[in-house]
């Protein structure tokens, strides 16, 4: 969950290969285009994008660290603080709310005992409010990593949390 400050920051060998492939996708001299893909790759490995991780990514692309910081802080998907094992990103936008999302999320918060932006004391769950996830006809909806959970009800939320708590 957290990055050991004394541990060497480096992609796994498989991700190093993948990172090279990604950088090679762009025209010569335009390797900075690989920044968002590499930040996603980094978050996949470390769970969040710490300053050390951002510096590492800057090194891979031969750009200044500040060029990574300004990007990572602009886009909402990158976690700038350590997060729990499961980050639940729930959509708070209009169409989901029309389908009763606010009540379902109140239940979700109560069940986990935390508010948006917080992590459960056991480090298992982090709640994050996000805007529209492009699944409005299937709302309420939340996302955990790459998985979308749709048509949420209080009961469905209970089932998902119990499943992930195992």
């Amino acid at each position: 969950m957290t990055t050991e400050t004394n541990a060497k920051i480096e992609f796994t060998p498989e991700r190093q290969v993948l990172a090279k492939e990604i950088i090679a996708r762009y025209p010569e001299g335009k390797q900075k285009s690989a920044l968002l893909p590499l930040l996603h790759l980094a978050q996949e490995q470390w769970g969040w994008t710490s300053p050390e991780v951002m510096d590492y990514v800057a090194g891979l692309l031969s750009i200044e660290p500040v060029e990574v910081y300004e990007v990572a802080t602009f886009y909402t998907m990158f976690h700038l603080d350590p997060v729990g094992k499961h980050v639940i990103e729930y959509c708070r936008t209009g169409p989901c709310c029309l389908m009763g999302a606010e009540d379902v999320y109140a239940h979700l918060k109560q069940k986990l005992g935390i508010d948006a932006g917080q992590t459960t004391p056991d480090g298992k769950f982090t709640l994050k409010e996000v805007e529209c996830l492009a699944a409005c006809g299937m709302g309420p909806v939340f996302q955990i990593r790459e998985q979308y959970y749709m048509h949420l009800t209080n009961q469905r939320v209970d089932e998902i949390i119990e499943e992930l708590s195992k």
Binding site: G94, P95, E131, A134, G137
Partner: protein, 446 residues
């Protein structure tokens, strides 16, 4: 049943795989274009088709293509805008997830027409699972010889790259998208120069929506005239509508442009009517940024004629009595929906998504959110309503990109058509802030 162009084979099992897609006639348009047509003749067909940008702006795609600068020795780029983030819109998500090869085929045809040898599909980062679906489809198409060097011996080379976004609505604006694709913050660029002259890496670039590009295989196979024969007037072809809210059958529907709004809402083929025991109060017809209309005005024009699902009919009456087709994000509200709360919710969205580059948008969206929050939470004053109108007007037209307009329109239109509801919130704060409280005053429900 209306004509299906994009979703014709959507129910065929395994249509997300190359083999099944191919068996249904997939990639025949690539064969036809690369073997029997010139790039310019593909552009001509798309122009004849009259297909208009399906991302929301509605600008004719063929005309946009014809603006592309073609200086010698400079690469040109096609970038597909798959950053679908407009609240109420989920059609591109649906299309790419279920029938990814349609977009890949469209990308090959469109890239060929524009003379691009490297093209990008910029997908919102939240849809990482869709990115993996597209990457698999690209690998399959490449293995089948439809991508790579010298495609089918035509001498044409093409490489497709799928690029993830990072969670920013603004990157759906084409110049912000290009900035993002260059690895920067998604700040929209000043225009001119337009992307057609200086786009990605300062090279001539076309940016098109997923749905727009996905029309090209059908247009190549059947001809632009056949496409233009569908629909009404300048609203040619079919349109994917993302239907959400208080209807019996939310989902993505392909309609022939020209269906009446009433049929779209009530017919079993589409939304299947308002959920049992409830009545239609309002509709946001084209994604969160377009003006909200009350039931009577969404169903009928000001002159009493039926309103149709076309660019022209939806905007008939201007903003006084009309709205826009936009991205086709069709959000339906019954009498349990609170227009004030929904407007506050949308304002929060635009405040959150403003890139912060232009003061009117950066400050104005936050101001509107704050004022709407206090009205919704029982602390508003009557003066706040005029204040909101004033702030919205001062954002509109005063920003580099259309996000400012997109933030202003929902507020202006909600007050225009539901002023009584705002006043009720302000005059009856105790009643209005009860859980689930909704204005039940005089209004036309259908």
């Amino acid at each position: 049943m209306g004509k299906k162009i994009l979703l014709e084979h959507i129910d065929v099992p395994g249509i997300d795989t190359y083999d099944v897609y191919r068996k249904q006639g997939g990639y025949t348009a690539v064969e036809k274009a690369l073997k029997t047509m010139t790039p310019d003749s593909v552009v001509e067909e798309v122009k004849k088709a009259g297909v208009r940008g399906r991302g929301g702006a509605g600008f004719p795609m063929g005309m946009k293509w014809s603006f592309l600068a073609k200086p010698e020795g400079v690469p040109r780029y096609l970038v597909c805008n798959a950053d679908e983030s407009e609240p109420g819109t989920f059609k591109d998500h649906y299309l790419m997830k279920h029938i990814p090869h349609l977009l890949i085929e469209g990308m090959i045809i469109s890239s060929f027409a524009l003379g691009a040898n490297k093209s990008f599909i910029y997908v919102r980062g939240e849809l990482m699972y869709v990115i993996r679906i597209l990457e698999k489809a690209i690998a399959e198409a490449k293995a089948a010889g439809f991508l790579g060097k010298n495609i089918m011996g035509s001498g044409y080379d093409l490489e497709l790259v799928v690029q993830p976004g990072g969670g920013a609505y603004i990157c759906g604006e084409e110049t912000a998208l290009l900035e993002s694709l260059e690895g920067k913050r998604g700040n929209p660029r000043n225009k001119p120069p337009f992307p057609a002259v200086k786009g990605l890496y300062q090279c001539p670039t076309v940016v098109n929506n997923v749905e727009s590009i996905s029309t090209t295989p059908w247009i190549v196979n059947n001809g632009g005239d056949a496409y233009a024969a569908i629909g009404i007037g300048r609203s040619t072809g079919t349109k994917l509508i993302s239907a959400s809210g208080h209807i019996n059958k939310p989902g993505v529907y392909e309609i022939e442009l020209g269906v009446s709004v009433e049929d779209f809402i009530y017919a079993d083929e589409w939304c299947g009517g308002i959920r049992p025991g409830h009545k239609l109060k309002a509709v946001v017809a084209g994604g969160s940024s377009v003006p909200i209309l009350p039931a009577n005005l969404i169903l009928n024009l000001a002159n009493g004629d039926k309103r149709l699902m076309t660019y022209e009919s939806l905007s008939d009456g201007g903003f006084a009595t009309g709205t826009m087709l936009g991205s086709g994000g069709f959000i339906v509200m019954d009498e349990t929906a609170c227009v004030v709360r929904n407007t506050w919710n949308f304002s929060r969205f635009y405040h959150h998504e403003s890139c912060g580059q232009c003061s009117p948008c950066r400050e104005g969206t936050g101001w509107m959110e704050k004022v709407l929050h206090r009205i919704e939470h029982g602390h508003g004053s009557l003066h706040d309503i005029d204040l909101l109108v004033d702030v919205a007007k001062k954002i509109e037209g005063n920003t580099i990109c259309p996000l400012g307009d997109a933030a202003a329109w929902p507020v202006g239109s909600a007050i225009r058509h539901f002023r009584d509801e705002f006043e009720w919130h302000i005059k009856h704060p105790v009643e209005a802030t009860q859980p689930g409280a909704v204005y039940r005053g005089e209004m036309a429900l259908v």
